[in-house]
Symmetry: C2
Subunit: 181 residues, 2 copies
């Protein structure tokens, strides 16, 4: 890069600093409340919410990655831990060979139903009730505008991941009979 960087103006810097509150500080507070009041971490909660909103409580791992915004290795490790705790089940999708399906279990449904009232009360207390309806509206528009750009760059990265997976799958013998346990 030879041209001089366009550093942020004071107003841009202020907005950038402020919106970082919606990242780690908010995540830390929500995670602390969930761990204190329920059997779930914030990461568990995110995964289970996405699954409960699908037909049949099932989703491809790749789509779950897009919904949570997590990188592939983080998602994979986390799903293993959730399966060990009985919250989800992972199944190979044998009809099209396009990787793992993640299914919410009855225990997972119960855990999120138990955790939801306390979680929503905390979201209200820390975020929603701190803002005016006008601020919430602008925040929705701004988040969606940024989200569109993020989806574009994160999808390109996810597709690169998927291409790497498919090249791996091609080199494995995939049985065409059910191996579900």
């Amino acid at each position: 890069m030879t041209s001089s960087p366009r550093w942020l103006s004071d107003q841009e810097q202020r907005a950038w600093r402020a919106l970082q509150q919606f990242g780690a500080p908010l995540a830390a507070a929500l995670n602390r409340q969930l761990l204190a009041d329920s059997a779930l971490s914030s990461a568990d909660y995110q995964v289970l919410v996405v699954l409960t909103e699908t037909d049949g409580g099932v989703l491809r791992a790749g789509e779950l990655g897009r919904e949570t915004g997590w990188e592939k290795s983080r998602l994979s490790h986390h799903l293993k831990r959730m399966q060990a705790r009985g919250l989800v089940r992972r199944e190979e999708c044998l009809t099209d060979g396009r990787g793992l399906l993640v299914v919410i279990t009855d225990q997972g449904r119960q855990a999120i139903a138990d955790a939801a009232p306390g979680h929503v009360a905390t979201v209200r207390d820390l975020v929603i009730d701190a803002l005016t309806p006008d601020q919430l509206r602008v925040l929705a528009e701004a988040g969606e505008a940024v989200g569109a750009r993020l989806t574009a760059v994160n999808c390109r990265a996810a597709e690169a991941d998927l291409a790497a997976d498919e090249s791996l799958t091609d080199r494995l013998e995939v049985p065409d009979v059910s191996t579900s346990s």
Copy 2:
């Protein structure tokens, strides 16, 4: 909890969903750019930015925790790795016994100076230039309002951590001569 939860309205739900874009999806995109184009991760970058803005490039670990919004164990592990890579130095603060100081090294200053132009260009591309000046202004106000609530709850947690540390320090022999290496 006996009263029925105040679930989010459609408008509140939309804002809550949208602002989550400023969490993990944004962090993933920024981290990917930094890892591809510089010697730093996003976490390294955050720590080094905070340190470069202090007098002398030094801060207490506890204050660094408040600035980054990270929980104590995450901060502690991350600082160890940054020290091993020569980016920061950790020193006991012997004058008041109130825990660790974190100091940026010359190598840390060089690393962030090298990484900053590419990072700022990405922040512009994904966030700042996607929003209007009015959206940025409301985002700043909203982030600061939420930040004030988060600071309150996260500080209470940090103080509980600190109290636990001090009770540990009381039980250790702390030498009153310098042990810096």
